[in-house]
Amino acid sequence: MSTVEAATHPAPPVVRAHSHKRNRRSTSVAVAMLVPAAVLMITFLIIPIFLTFGLAFTNARLISPVPARFVGFDNFVRLFTNDTFWKSLLNTIVFTIVIVPVQSGLALGLAILVNAKVRGTNFFRTVYFLPVVTSMVVVSMLWLFMYQPDGLINVLLAKVGITGPDWLGDPKTALFAIIVLSIWQAVGFHMVIWLSGLQTIPAELYEAASIDGAGRWQQFVHVTWPGLRQTSIFILITITIAAFSLFTQVNIMTQGGPLDSTSTLVYMAVFTGFQQQQTGYAAAISLVFFALVLTVSLIQRYLTRDKGATR
């Protein structure tokens, strides 16, 4: 800030006016570029959020001849005394806590592997990326068959003498089964992001490190990891938000069962809002979900803030 002032102060007035004009032009360009995105964001994001805020305090229904009525905190009282809600919240958190480190770690491992300077890496990059371009609905259907008691996975397990469980039918294994398939589907996407980060690290740094006698592990810790800082923040935040909004797999494979062991907040909101037609109640669930994601994102933002910049 101070350097800017020092530079502009001694300048003659003519130049100032000129720069003002340029400023105004660049302002209108900025507005023009902002408008399309802003309109879309406001229409499809900001307004629905405000509507959700409002609906959460009413008894609005999807289909009803009676206008919605303000009911205060009724929906929230009902929600916080509902066992399915607490189970859904717990499942959502467990899913996120497992997915975030495992998926980003695996993706990083794969990225380093396919970044190696050997023949055929393009083939592996494509293979790992294939599940990402496949729709989650299709992936869920396929794994639904594989997870059946006499499906592919249990047949393979039986070959090595293990009797596999009824993966999706047993409350103890259902969430785990969904976690595995979710990682398999999405890991390729984050691998590509890591890969782009890896390729921005200049080769000279590695050369310098190896001249200094650093081994592979030391190179990773002191060259690769610091070079991936921005990438890792991006990956952390995107995986967390994606994990919180778990829905498709649950909707197709288990419908929240058995015994609510795979129910999630988003699934519960969709189920109560559309199948059970309780728009107001579903809005309350969405609001809780919104608050949860916002809190976690803010904490992550705080923890990963660029400490160097504040100095």
Binding site: V31, I63, A68, Q276, Q277
Partner: protein
């Protein structure tokens, strides 16, 4: 300056959109362009859920074409939707006041949509509809809102050769198996080890199948989804002694290995491949199973678990909307389309049970003594309608979830008590759907 303009734009935008959406929220009937006049002919829009279902769509198209050729005052314009998104389309159309004139409705939704003001009551057709199977005429609050061409019937599909081999009595429509008889039969089959599972109740299906397929069994034990005297509470019927007995039986079927806890996606294929001996399924399995087993296949009536055998009733039905600008035209079409020959045509093309006796005589197999006559008899004798209350969608999903939990080992009493509480809360929150 920029900030202030942006804020102004944003505020105006939010305010405008809020007003728009609030306007869209005030639901109910609709004034719209669903009946346009051109050269003295009024066009009536007709919506159906049949897109992709060649047999039924073709039959409905035939009815519409015949109607358009029969007179010049009205022209019906058919628009088909895929079944999976049909209900959402209608709800969205109602919210934006763009309901079609004539539409088909899944029978359990009729009360809900009538209460919401989507549907107008059908008048002047009482004589015609008196000849229809009661389960194909959708009523609510004493008024008729829709009628259907056909119904389907649930049966226990098995094979005469299996019954003979294990010494099981062949049941008739008048004398179904009793609960003890049925369980003894299952045990015999199970002990033989010839089948992977003695029975299969298609537990792998989801959604409306659960209340449709399993609430009749609950009723056969003496329970029900809701107390039908006033449709206010489920207390005592869904969590009473009979309901607990049903729940224990239902969970026991899977726990004791009489049926898979989660059936495969195609239980009829499993039955035809000899994996199960008794299949709880609809009359729609008649065509493929006959192809496979010929005369050997047997369609047994629902088991009497003490309160008489029961099956669900009601399928797709036709009615007209409150938004129709030409109710006379809609009623004229509905009257024209209710003729026996169309009932026969639609049922024949969909392999379903024709609703009138006269039509049944015209559809091969459904004439008295025909091979499909058994479905009509079962339907006439055992049908219990799914509760005709606007609260049904909530009751259905709540029951479905409770039944699923019970099958997975949840305590029957606690689960059903909770379901009753949820249903009662919902009925009460809607002032018991009084108008």
């Amino acid at each position: 300056m920029l900030k202030r303009t942006a804020r102004l734009v944003a505020t105006t935008f939010v305010a405008a959109s809020l007003m728009l959406s609030v306007a869209a929220c005030s639901k109910g009937g609709a004034t719209s362009t669903n009946a346009a006049t051109a050269g003295g002919t009024q066009t009536l829009t007709l919506w159906t859920h049949n897109a992709g279902n060649k047999g039924e769509l073709g039959a409905i198209q035939q009815v519409v074409d015949d109607y358009n050729a029969s007179q010049t005052t009205y022209k019906v314009d058919l628009q088909a939707f895929p079944q999976d998104s049909y209900n959402q389309s209608v709800v969205a159309a109602a919210a934006s006041k763009k309901l079609p004139c004539i539409l088909d409705i899944d029978q359990p939704n009729v009360a809900n949509w009538a209460w919401a003001g989507y549907l107008a009551p059908i008048t002047g057709m009482d004589d015609i509809l008196a000849k229809y199977l009661p389960s194909t005429v959708a009523k609510w609050n004493g008024k008729t809102y829709a009628y259907g061409y056909y119904d389907v019937a649930l049966t226990w599909v098995t094979r005469t050769s299996i019954l003979k081999k294990y010494g099981i009595r062949v049941p008739t429509v008048d004398q179904p198996w009793t609960g003890e008889e049925f369980m003894a039969a299952l045990k015999k089959v199970k002990d033989s080890g010839d089948f992977k599972y003695p029975a299969d109740m298609a537990t792998g299906w989801t959604g409306e199948w659960w209340p449709y397929g399993y609430s009749p069994q609950l009723q056969a034990f003496g329970g029900d989804l809701i107390n039908r005297t006033d449709y206010k509470s489920a207390d005592g019927v869904l969590n009473g002694e009979a309901a607990i007995k049903w729940a224990n039986w239902f969970a026991g079927m899977a726990k004791d290995g009489y049926m898979p806890k989660k059936s495969s996606a195609d239980p009829a294929a499993d039955f035809m491949n000899g994996k199960s001996a008794f299949l709880w399924n609809g009359s729609w399995t008649a065509v493929p199973t006959r192809e496979k087993f010929g005369d050997d296949v047997l369609f047994a009536p629902p088991v009497d678990f003490g309160n008489g055998g029961k099956i669900g009733g009601g399928s797709w039905t036709w009615g007209y909307s409150t938004g129709c600008s030409s109710p006379e035209g809609a009623l004229d079409y509905l009257k024209f389309a209710s003729a026996d020959k169309y009932v026969a045509k639609v049922s024949a093309d969909t392999n379903n049970i024709p609703t009138t006796d006269a039509a049944a005589a015209m559809v091969p197999g459904f004439e008295p003594g025909g091979e499909n006559d058994v479905f009509r008899q079962i339907s006439k004798k055992y049908t219990v309608m799914r509760p005709e209350t606007p609260g049904y969608p909530f009751i259905a999903t709540t029951f479905g979830k409770a039944a699923q939990d019970i099958l997975n080992g949840a305590d029957p009493k606690t689960t059903l008590d909770q379901a009753v509480k949820d249903i009662d809360d919902n009925q009460k929150a809607n002032d018991y759907f009084q108008q």
